[in-house]
Amino acid sequence: MTDALRLEGITHGYGGRPVIDRLDLTVAAGETVCLVGPSGCGKTTALRIAAGLEPVQVGRVLIDGQTVADGRTERAPERRGVGMMFQDYALFPHLTIAENVAFGLAGRAPRERDGRTRELLDQVGLLDYADFYPHTLSGGQQQRIALARALAPSPRLLLLDEPFSGLDARLREELRADTLTLLRRTGTATLMVTHDPEEAMFMADRLAVMRAGRIEQQGTPREVYDRPANAFVAAFFSQVNRLDGLVVGGRVSTPVLDLPAGALRDGARVEVVVRPESVRIAPAGDATAAGATIALVTDVRTVGRASLVRLCMHGSGGREWHLEARLSGRDLPDVGSRVAVSVASGQAFVFAHEKG
């Protein structure tokens, strides 16, 4: 089966400033891929290159197995069969909701056009608003219209640029779920760009984490979360504890952990990354805590569904180590008490220190 979208070796810059560096990315038919990364990492540029809104400088773009741009020839965006939803929705203010949705159906017979428009308005639950103008609708309704408009011509590929960023938290969650349902139902191959890791994990069949113009890691949300390729990827999806260490005898040693260093050489400075939710605590005198380290509880904060516990340990040479644990139970230690600390096996990651 041919990929709906294939970006090959895309390198792009503005006025000599590099924005994308040798990017390779595919979206399979019916698949939803999320390009996720901090703002300014080049992800929106990649999306615009796929759409044809930005001419390819170096590399190749294929849609449905056909080359549409390779730096010499460039197929016009309107002839690529690509739908795109913009961050600001870009609804046409002079057209009604129905006219906005029908905008991309200009070539169809009137009856077919009306039928398709009604079908999509129905799917996004806004059939009653067909004759309204965009400015009279709420942000969430405008988002749905923008999605319906992009889907109306049945594009081979749908591009979503930060589709939920203009909405408040609760509405965002609701629309995410609705959008996902609609994409699954239509089976549209989708490339979505977002800076929100949670949103990306929720929406994506596959994630591509981008930083400074390069893809740091690709994989399913689970793979990326459980086996991050580097400290940046690990830290991107949640708050993490970062502990400095040195490789000695092929192992990295910290008060709470002793891990194999893998391929890292002896004497290399490394970072041990521990997610707060993989930190376990138990009463200090508990028999099950054999091999655990004793730590002092310095702070306890409840933040809704979970609580954050700050811990302080003393290592060799009087050095203090700080660790944050995220606990879901109600049974919380007291500030000032001593607890036994351990980390769930396989949930601490060792990476070479990124910069000296």
Binding site: G13, G15, G16, D21, L53, R80, M84, Q87, F92
Partner: protein
């Protein structure tokens, strides 16, 4: 776009190929815009040249004779009109925006009406009303039995009279901007000042007024610049100013060099006003800290205060619009019989032709410049466009002379060349034609058109263009289905504003119009100069009637600017 602090760990990316190609490709759009800019800058540059290279002996002569009178006249007039419009404009804006009294909504609109009057037209109206033979003095004599010389009556044809006329028609600039500023102020800041212990009056002087100051100064600066450019009023009232000086030297005495020097001085005066306005804004950028608007709190005025407020808002409307409009209408009614038919239609046709040509051209150039900025994102483009629109503040007389000097040089050059080569005299090719006067209108009024077109274009976001393309529309398809419907309103408004300004324009038209090509404004001026004020009334009234159109457009635009609040 690219702002990751971690930087690049790899070798720099290959130099983008397209960027290189784009650099070498000649850019016809940029070339066209640069050429237009140069052309539109030329008249100002010519006059500015006289600032930089003053002719000393001409100056010495001017300084010894007429210059002190002209400078004093312009200065006093500017100060008086500045002060008058400041107080009248700010006061009425405050009353209708933040107080509640009977007729408030009606006044909010009516206070704009004097804008329909060019200063010279209201001057003609009042001259007719207040002259010895006019209805007011006649009534006075009938009531008292006095005769000529028995009584004192204020002399309208004086510097204070001219200042009064101009204040009456120019205060709406201050009113308009001050009112917009008051409306823009979040209700919260006024309420906060009340909770911090300010009385309504204190909150006006300590909060609302300082916040609106940039707008008020801006409006006053506009009024002062209009005052400096006025020719019709000061000419009719015999007040010596820089503009009357330019006309006397240029047309009366044929002293082109001296006139150009005076024009240079006037140009400097205008830039001084502009600079003062800029400086007064200074570093204080008053950005409103909250975007939340609620219905403005209004202070309820009762009894005598309410009556005073009505008087304060009613008098400017009565004196600045109703009374002179009534006088012009009355005189027009008495003269419909004899000259209105043929002559009037010729002058109206000339006015209409000039105004239509100028409006169409201004919109065309405005669209070119607006779209050039949208398509060509180079750094030079906005700079070029700003340079092309420098003329908005330059008085009509200055622009006219700036246009005439290079065009005459061109004509003479071509004529000399043709005679030397072929023995044919080509005479005047451009000067004294519709080309010259249209050129001057472009320098003056293109900025106005461009402003409207730019704000219209800003409403079509680049993402809308991209969305339309991805939905299958070609470039022409996007223009047809998105740009034309969305731009129509702003383009028509821009055209209307230029059309009306050209109808009202006097000094540049007087200097540059083709021979024997009189417009309504020129005809009104000529008849008034011959003291035939009643005969001048039809042309004057026509100008005022056309001038009401933009007032209506303006007030509708204000009403739309703040949804949810009954502004008008």
């Amino acid at each position: 776009m690219y702002s990751d602090s971690t930087g690049w760990q790899t070798a720099p990316a290959p130099v983008p190929r397209l960027a290189l190609r784009a650099w070498r490709r000649p850019r016809p759009l940029a070339v066209a815009v640069a050429a237009l800019t140069l052309l539109l800058l030329m008249p100002i540059a010519v006059i500015a040249g006289y600032v930089l290279v003053p002719a000393i002996d001409v100056w010495r002569h001017l300084a010894a004779t007429v210059l002190p009178g002209y400078v004093t006249g312009s200065l006093l007039l500017a100060l008086a009109v500045g002060a008058g419009t400041l107080v009248l404009g700010t006061g009425t804006a405050w009353l209708v925006t933040l107080c509640r009294f009977p007729g408030r909504k009606l006044f909010a609109f009516a206070l704009l009406l004097p804008l329909a009057f060019p200063a010279y037209v209201i001057a003609y109206g009042y001259t007719g009303l207040l002259d010895y033979a006019g209805p007011i003095q006649t009534l006075l004599r009938d009531l008292t039995g006095w005769g000529l010389g028995d009584y004192w009556f204020p002399k309208l044809r004086s510097l204070p009279g001219a200042a009064l006329m101009m204040t009456l028609v120019l205060y709406p600039y201050v009113y308009l901007l001050a009112r917009a500023a008051f409306i823009e102020q979040s209700a919260c800041v006024i309420e906060v000042s009340r909770t911090l212990g300010c009385t309504p009056w204190q909150s006006f002087f300590r909060i609302a007024l300082p916040l609106a100051r940039p707008a008020i100064v801006g409006g006053t600066a506009l009024a002062v610049m209009e005052t400096l450019s006025d020719y019709g009023t000061v000419q009719h009232f015999g007040v010596p100013t820089l503009t009357t000086g330019i006309f006397r030297l240029w047309l009366g005495m044929g002293e082109a060099a001296a006139a150009a020097q005076l024009a240079a001085l006037l140009l400097v005066a205008v830039f001084v006003v502009l600079t003062i306005e800029r400086l007064s804004r200074g570093a204080r950028r008053f950005a409103h800290t909250t975007g939340r608007y609620r219905r403005l709190p209004r202070f309820e005025l009762r009894g005598a205060r309410s009556a005073l407020a009505m008087l304060a808002c009613g008098l400017p409307v009565l004196l600045g619009f109703a009374l002179p409009a009534a006088a012009l209408t009355g005189w027009t009614a008495t003269t419909t019989g004899y000259w209105w038919r043929h002559e009037f239609l010729v002058f109206a046709g000339n006015s209409f032709t000039l105004a239509s040509v100028a409006a169409a051209l201004a919109v065309a150039i405005g669209l070119l410049l607006g779209y050039a900025q949208r398509v060509d994102r180079s750094m030079a483009m906005p700079l070029l466009v700003r340079l092309a629109t420098l003329g908005y503040a330059v008085p009509g007389a200055v622009v006219a002379i700036g246009v005439l000097i290079p065009l005459a040089a061109f004509d003479n050059g071509v004529d000399a060349f043709m005679r030397a080569q072929f023995g044919i005299s080509t005479g005047l090719i451009l000067s004294g034609t519709i080309v010259a006067v249209t050129f001057a209108y472009m320098v003056r009024f293109l900025p106005m058109a461009l402003h409207g077109i730019e704000s219209g274009l800003a409403k079509i976001t680049p993402n809308m263009d991209d969305a339309a393309r991805l939905l299958g529309r070609s470039a022409t398809g996007i223009v047809r289905t998105v740009h034309v419907p969305l731009m129509r309103g702003s383009v028509l408004t821009a055209a209307l504003l230029v059309f009306v300004e050209v109808m009202k324009e006097l000094p540049a038209t007087l200097i540059l119009r083709p021979f024997d090509f009189d417009t309504l404004a020129v005809r009104a001026y000529e008849l008034a100069t011959d003291e035939q004020l009643v005969a001048a009334s039809s042309a004057a009234l026509a100008i005022v009637l056309v001038g009401i159109l933009p007032v209506i457009v303006l007030s509708r635009a204000i009403a739309r600017s703040r949804p949810g609040d009954d502004v008008l």
